[in-house]
């Protein structure tokens, strides 16, 4: 369906046809649309534009080229669709709505609902979610609608269970609050265990790194000043026509993390460009194909449309740190990322994409084809998007508690100690966990009271015979959430606290956590309690 394009021959064709183009570098939307309608528009994909500017310069490209098509195809969690199912007879005011077992949000009128792509099936969590329902609908498959309602005088029905296809729905409208990230961080993992994240499976000890975003062909990279992309801009969305309806959530244009809120009629989209996704032990999402035509109105747009991967810089973040501000380990360009190897702390790390470049390029080509056919005119934005919005962190009303705030000194022994020594130590210190260290205080293992009991039953004598060498540890900078998740995962009750050099600093576990459980009343509660106490006195 796509015509493969020989870049050089098309460039030659262009240079011939260009001699008749106008001398002025400024163009208007009207001029460009007129050319599109008459079949005279010069449309290049973002890749072709880069080559064209390399060969002919920005000034010439601004005169010659009318439109540059861009594309991206990545997992975009902030996506979903509004549906209207029509009324059953007797009618129902839906209260709970499920589509193929995936719950849709219902907080609107009787038979409207919004299905989000990260919502997972109750029967098949981590495998099937809202994005898969949307893909199934686009493939023409029937999906099962199950809804419950509380009876009202106007909506007497309480339950409905019916199989529906996309054609059976009145409206199916994709509305994605955050799509088309201008760039994204590259993710890696410093810890000793595999992490399952929305950035894919991150192997331990920096064994791999992943990144997302289409780099030099991504829509928002080609118009980073948001000169043409604004509210009302007509776009390619999921294989159909869509529109920008505002800045995306978490839009942060000054930091080159601009995003878009977009919409489009799902009924004219295609399962080729909207694909359900499921990330192991993380959850579901949806791959969204999105492309934007950039009108080359002036030299500045010709320049930004020729920005290359090497000029697009992003951060490598350590996803091993479960905090809002993950440590930045390196700065790399998209050219580095696409090369397959980046250096992190002096180590060569395998780096791979999570978003499909082959599909992103397909979108650039497809959108180009639509424009050349005269099917797709450029829409002038009715309002610009904010170029100054900040992305604030969540307001916090509680001080975050860290391991460093709660850990206590650990009772320690060495590998050469006898179990009798350890038993005495347990009685003396009243600790359930004895941390095994070497002479320098480095972590060698751990022994619990249960291990000692078992050893007595098995007639074992030495620490080295029963020590657990693979130990779950935390650092003082970890949050209590991090600690509790690790303890729960390993089904244990305490973990040694170590520094970066594996030196034991102390221990933290159930005993230390219990002390933190006593709730501290907040200011409002405190004032209320004091007022009540005063009232009682009177």
């Amino acid at each position: 369906m796509l015509f493969s394009l020989d870049l050089l021959s098309s460039l030659k064709y262009l240079s011939r046809s260009i001699s008749r183009s106008s001398a002025t570098a400024e163009k208007t939307y009207e001029e460009i649309n007129q050319k599109i309608t008459s079949g005279d528009a010069v449309v290049l994909t973002a890749e072709e534009m880069i080559a064209y500017v390399d060969q002919n310069g920005v000034e010439q490209a601004a005169k010659d080229v009318d439109v540059v098509t861009t594309g991206t195809f990545g997992a975009m969690c902030s996506s979903g669709a509004f549906f209207n199912f029509g009324h059953s007879d007797p009618p129902i005011k839906m209260d709970k709505v499920f589509l193929n077992g995936v719950e849709a949000y219902h907080g609107n009128a009787a038979v409207d609902a919004y299905l989000g792509v990260t919502k997972m099936s109750e029967q098949h969590p981590f495998e099937y979610g809202g994005g898969h329902v949307i893909e199934d609908l686009l493939q023409g498959k029937a999906i099962q609608l199950e809804a419950e309602g509380y009876a009202t005088d106007c909506y007497p029905r309480t339950h409905v269970n019916v199989s529906l296809t996309l054609d059976d729905l009145n409206q199916a409208v994709l509305v994605n609050p955050r799509n088309a990230y201008q760039r994204y961080n590259c993710a890696t993992n410093s810890t000793s265990r595999t992490l399952y994240t929305y950035m894919g499976k991150l192997l331990p000890e920096f064994e791999n790194a992943t990144f997302s975003g289409a780099g030099e062909i991504a829509p928002l990279q080609k118009d980073p000043n948001l000169a043409t992309i604004g509210i009302g801009t007509r776009i390619f969305l999921g294989g159909g026509k869509g529109y920008v309806i505002g800045e995306g959530t978490q839009h942060e244009p000054m930091d080159r993390f601009a995003t878009l809120m977009v919409t489009g009629d799902l009924k004219q989209m295609s399962a080729d460009f909207l694909k359900g996704a499921s990330f192991a032990k993380y959850g579901t999402s949806m791959y969204v194909g999105l492309g934007i035509p950039i009108p080359i109105l002036n030299e500045e747009l010709a320049r930004t449309c020729a920005i290359k991967d090497g000029e697009i810089i992003t951060n490598v973040l350590d996803y091993g740190v479960g905090r809002r501000n993950r440590p930045k380990l390196a700065q790399v360009s998209y050219a580095d990322l696409k090369s397959g190897t980046i250096a992190i702390n002096g180590k060569d790390v395998r780096v791979r994409p999570l978003s499909s470049f082959s599909k992103a390029k397909e979108i650039c080509e497809e959108l180009k084809r639509w424009i050349l056919k005269g099917d797709f005119l450029l829409g002038r934005a009715v309002e610009p998007l904010s170029t100054t919005r900040q992305f604030k962190p969540m307001k916090s009303e509680e001080g975050e508690v860290f391991v460093k705030d709660l850990y206590t000194g650990a009772a320690t022994c060495t590998l050469d100690d006898t179990l009798e020594d350890v038993a005495k130590l347990i009685i003396h210190t009243n600790e359930d966990h004895i941390v095994v260290v070497d002479e320098a205080g480095n972590l060698k293992g751990i022994i619990t009271t249960f291990d000692v009991t078992k050893a007595v039953a098995q007639n074992k004598k030495k620490v080295s015979e029963i020590v657990t060498r693979k130990v779950v540890t935390v650092t003082p900078q970890d949050t209590l959430y991090e600690l509790v998740n690790r303890l729960k995962r390993a089904n244990i009750s305490a973990a040694p606290v170590i520094d970066r050099e594996n030196k034991v600093l102390g221990i933290i576990g159930a005993n230390q956590l219990v002390k933190n459980l006593v709730p501290k009343p907040n200011e409002a509660t405190k004032a209320k309690l004091e007022a009540e106490a005063q009232a009682n006195e009177r």
Binding site: A75, G200, K201, S355, S356, F357
Partner: protein, 130 residues
């Protein structure tokens, strides 16, 4: 160099030398062990046979000794589902799954060791390893 899968019963496994040297027609063939998985019944080795040894002969000799030896493409990608995102290539340490210069997925079946690092990582659930 050819990669061969060997599923070996415990009885045989106990006589194997650490470097996986195998007596073959009076000569010692030393293979490179790429991966080993041990089970209660024996072990599954993935080995590289040196290029001066005929892999078919190696497989014949190993089979006659009671091992299940096979040279088989292990990894299969369902192209109808695949979107060529590249996530599997981030997990594959053996370059069995790679992206070419145009970012299309290339499956080098002969490199697959059957480690299955790719299968659960695929966001489209389209990789199977036999």
């Amino acid at each position: 160099m050819v990669r061969v899968n060997l599923i070996i019963p415990k009885s045989y496994f106990e006589t194997i030398k650490p470097k996986f040297a195998i007596e073959m027609n009076g000569e010692t063939v030393t293979t490179t062990v790429i991966r080993s998985t041990f089970t209660a019944d024996g072990a599954h080795f993935v080995v590289d046979v040196p290029s001066d040894v005929d892999p078919e002969e190696f497989i014949r000799v190993m089979s006659s000794e009671g091992a299940k030896a096979f040279r088989r493409a292990l990894v299969v990608v369902d192209r109808d589902l695949c979107i060529e995102c590249g996530e599997c290539t981030a997990e594959c340490a053996y370059e069995a799954l790679v992206l070419d210069q145009d970012f299309h997925l290339v499956v080098n079946k002969d490199n697959c060791t059957g480690c299955r690092a790719c299968t659960d990582a695929c966001p489209r659930h389209c990789i199977t390893v036999h």
